[in-house]
Amino acid sequence: MVLSRFFKQELDLPLLLSVVLATLFGIGAIYSATYSWEHGAAGRIYERQIIWSAVAVAALFLTLFVPPKYYYAFAYILYGISICLLVLVLQFGDQRWFDLGPFHMQPSELAKIATILALARYLSTRNLDLDRPRSLITPFFLVLLPAVLVFKQPDLGTALVFISVLLPMFYWAGMRPVVLFFLISPLLSVICAFHYVALVVLVLAIAGVVFLVRPGRLMVGAIVVVNLAVAVGAPFLWENKLHDYQRRRILTFLNPDLDKLGAGYQVMQSKVAIGSGGLNGKGYLQGTQTKLSFLPEQHTDFVFSVIGEEFGFAGATIVLAMFLLIIWRAIQIAGLVKSRFSSLVAIGLAAMLTFHVFVNIGMTVGVVPVTGLPLPYFSYGGSHLVVNLILAGLLLNIYAYRHEYH
């Protein structure tokens, strides 16, 4: 009785359906990606993904039925645990994952959710004045700690995920756009640091905003120091700290012809695969490019190229629409819940999802550098799938308890 009423009124059916459909679509794509005309489906990869998705669906429902107040209560503890796991995996694991016999566990996946919960809890504190630099210290710390640990693995893409949720959550928590601009300005400085004309333009822009808004002296000082440090430090890091492959990826992104067989090779093959799919695609399991060429990560990071080749523009658009629907629902939910904490969590999840989708699909179609980030619900990987369905479970949970202040 209670349950059927729950399903009628409290369950966000469009969201649930999109997520389930995306996961099923993903299994189909993985099957195709590992399928060869001569040998059928290679290995047990798609079978493992099916087993994982069963586990993940169970995790989704578990997440769905836990009242949000518990997430609030355990936010910091969960964050602490995932930080410990990140430290442990660097020390004792296989850098990125723990080898637990039949499967691997990737603590960075768990850390994404835990960081969003912790950040949401902190930002939902009443009377938090986001204009004061002091109140930004904790959020920065909460985000940078896991980001640095993951960067050391080294996994640049996932490290950026942590940072990507920060600004949207600040914005949602009420930060003024001008402050946001100042926060973004170091990022712009990094990009402009390599070209002095751009740098001059940026400096003028920052000076203009400062003149118009007239923030506190401390703020101005911080902006100047941080931007200077970044503008000087970025070229230094580029020369001395970035891994060769990371540098090459960025350069290759700027000019794919530079390295037709290295990092550019993947992008080139991926573009040819998607492009040759045309309007309607070559048909399921009929993609010549994914079957004949060397796309080493086609069932993980480059799974979208399989969809693009075999289902064409129609299939690619459906996938994009599916993600847009999920993200739109997440933002909607954030707008209607009564709980401050839940609202922030929903925005954080939406931001994370957006970042993943944009970076992953952007990389396969060649508009974003290759960073090695999986496509949620589609890419092969147990921890990743479980965490993404937990993410969906959280959103459904927040929707179901939308009337509670907790």
Binding site: E38, Y171, W172, K271, S276, F294, F313, S343, V357, F358
Partner: protein, 630 residues
């Protein structure tokens, strides 16, 4: 400044802004997809059909096998292979193409269509590997395929190396049992080794040195990146990406090819048996023959290979380490040493009952091979004449326990640990019995058994390499570990026998060859003092096996030889001349200044002329084994 972000109007505005950002980002993706799949779709379709990047493996040369002087025993020779890229056939849009190509290939190469299809559909193959359809094809087929290249998409001619062997003029390569052979990797081995970079139709060492030293000989394959069009033609390459293959390392053997050749020629074609020549001072095998031999290339032809495997004379067996023979009189030195060491006898005093061609023991008569009788003899006389009656009596006195102890001390009944045994052949340990063996088998021990054991008959068996090692122990006083690889470290097992006893035995063995009535006189070599011992093993299944063992020079031994010839009669008549030839060759090679006609004796007797080898087999400074007719 808002007091609280939870204000509904505030949230609505911000949600709208955020959604705008999301929509902009998605629009970027959408435009990206649109450009690829709609605007530029044509271009990418063409590219996807025409240009496929391919990784082409570059074969690494296999290491060479040389003899002790660096002369090539096994090298690589070019050959052509016709191979097919199945995905190029499958990926072709026109389904009739595949059938046409397969039919044409079947015509050209004379292979049944089903067999080609079966090979193409092998599920174990790695995806991008070309399937090697026909190896080692003739140039006529190569030229036909090359001409019709345009009509045969996916068909390629590959240049491959195959093994070449230093051969005798009869076409038989030297020491086939030792160098062994390479063959196609079998599916189980492939499963185990694919991680190490083996491919399904790779060659792998199957036997002998080729197998033992597989990891040394095998090189590391290189990679070439090419761009090919839909016809399988190379349209572009990426030379900067190429990784060069790494050739395998060479392996040096302890064999001397000239001695090996002389030894193989010394066996007439009809003879079966084995010869081991070894340096007793370090265990290096100088020559090792097992007859009948075989050609390692036979493995490339299934029918020939089946015939070889079914052959009753077992040509694939390495008799030198796997052949177990009754040692016969060669073993009499063991009994003699046991007698001398336990103080029962000395070498010169005549003892025991006189030999009258046999002796009665219990209700049986034990015969001497010399039916007319040898008379009353000392140990020296008895060994020179190989008198059985003397050894029957000595054996009884020595007893099974002491006899067994000395036989084991001299290395019998246990593997020698020769390195080549790990090349897939394994090594037989032979049989040396003790009292418990008989009680377990027959319920009791009887002295009658000992009489047979004392002359190397009865339930005793030895391998030729064990025998060579035993003679080495007589020569130098320690048991060396025999080895055919230069890189194997020498190893010695001390022998608990007094130097005096060994010296006595050697002096008697010298008489066996040098005395006018000695049984081993046909092993004499001019200018060298050879010590030896014959043996004639009674064989319940047919003719006797002939044995001869020798060490030379008797006073400072450099070489020992053990020869066994199956079903060939008397050791002194058949085996001794073979050992003699090998010894003669050896001393001709090591002391060329003493004699001029080097290897010739062996050659001329067999009416052989040496084959001209494409590699110069004679290193500078060594004797060139040119034919010199007397």
């Amino acid at each position: 400044m808002h007091d609280d972000f939870m204000d509904n109007g505030f949230r609505k505005t911000r949600a709208r802004w955020m959604m705008s950002v999301v929509i902009v980002l998605f629009a970027v993706l959408f435009v990206g997809v649109f450009r690829l799949q709609i605007t530029d779709s044509e271009r990418y379709s063409i590219q996807s059909k025409k240009n496929t990047m391919q990784v082409v493996p570059i074969e690494a040369g296999r290491g060479l096998i040389t003899d002790r002087n660096g002369v090539l025993l096994v090298d690589n020779r070019p050959s052509y292979t016709i191979s097919v890229l199945p995905q190029r056939l499958r990926g072709n849009t026109d389904p009739t193409v595949r059938g046409r190509v397969v039919n044409r290939l079947s015509q050209v190469a004379g292979l049944p269509v089903q067999r080609i299809n079966r090979k193409l559909e092998d599920r174990n193959r790695r995806f991008h590997e070309p399937v090697r359809l026909i190896r080692d094809v003739g140039f006529n087929i190569v030229s036909v395929v090359e001409e019709e290249r345009h009509d045969l998409p996916g068909v390629e001619i590959q240049f491959e190396a195959r093994r070449g062997y230093l051969s005798l003029s009869r076409g038989f390569p030297l020491a086939p049992h030792i160098v062994g052979y390479v063959g196609l990797i079998d599916p189980e081995t492939y499963e185990r080794k694919r991680e190490m970079g083996y491919r399904l139709d790779d060659q792998i060492g199957k036997r002998g040195i080729e197998r033992l030293c597989e990891s040394v000989l095998r090189g590391r394959e290189g990679m070439k990146f090419i761009e090919v069009d839909a016809f399988g033609r190379e349209v572009g390459s990426f030379p900067e990406r190429t990784t060069l293959p790494l050739r395998g390392n060479d392996v040096q053997l302890t064999l001397d090819w000239r001695l090996q050749q002389a030894a193989e020629l010394a066996f007439a074609d009809s003879l079966r048996g084995s010869l081991v020549a070894m340096n007793p001072n370090n265990g290096e095998i100088l020559a090792m023959v097992s007859k009948p031999g075989f050609h390692p290339q036979s493995i490339r032809d299934l029918r020939q290979w089946r015939t070889l495997q079914a052959d009753k004379s077992n040509p694939l067996l390495n008799r030198s380490i796997k052949g177990e023979y009754p040692p016969a009189s060669v073993f009499k030195m063991v009994t003699a040493i046991a007698g001398l060491e336990t103080g029962l006898i000395d070498s010169e005093t005549a003892r025991y009952r006189s030999c009258a061609g046999g002796m009665k023991f219990g209700d049986r008569v034990f015969r001497c091979h010399n039916a007319t009788g040898c008379g009353r003899l000392s140990l020296r006389g008895a060994l020179i004449r190989s008198c059985d009656v003397y050894f029957y009596q000595l054996g009884r006195k020595v007893g099974i326990t002491n006899w067994n102890r000395y036989a084991r001390t001299l290395g019998f009944g246990q593997p020698t640990g020769i390195d080549i045994a790990a090349g897939g052949d394994g090594e037989a340990s032979g049989l040396v019995t003790d009292r418990s063996y008989y009680t377990a088998r027959y319920g009791h021990w009887a002295d009658g058994y000992m009489l047979n054991l004392a002359i190397g008959q009865g339930e005793t068996s030895v391998t030729p390499v064990q025998t060579a090692r035993y003679i080495s122990a007589l020569a130098v006083g320690t048991l060396p570990r025999p080895r055919v690889l230069k890189s194997t470290a020498p190893e010695f097992t001390p022998v608990q026998i007094s130097a005096q006893t060994l010296k006595t035995i050697r002096s008697i063995m010298l008489d066996v060859v040098e005395a006018p009535y000695g049984t081993g006189k046909r092993a004499r070599v001019e200018g060298v003092r050879v010590a030896g011992k014959t043996g004639t093993a009674q064989n319940p299944h047919g003719e006797d096996h002939a044995w001869f063992t020798a060490l030379a020079p008797a006073h400072y031994p450099e070489i020992v030889v053990a020869v066994v010839v199956e079903n060939a009669g008397h050791g002194g008549a058949v085996a001794a001349p073979i050992a003699g030839r090998v010894l003669e060759t050896y001393f001709d090679l090591t002391r060329p200044e003493q004699k001029t006609d080097t290897i010739v004796a062996a050659r001329v007797d067999n009416e052989q002329s040496p084959e001209a080898n494409d590699s110069d087999p004679a290193p500078a400074g060594s004797t060139t084994p040119a034919v010199v007719l007397r």
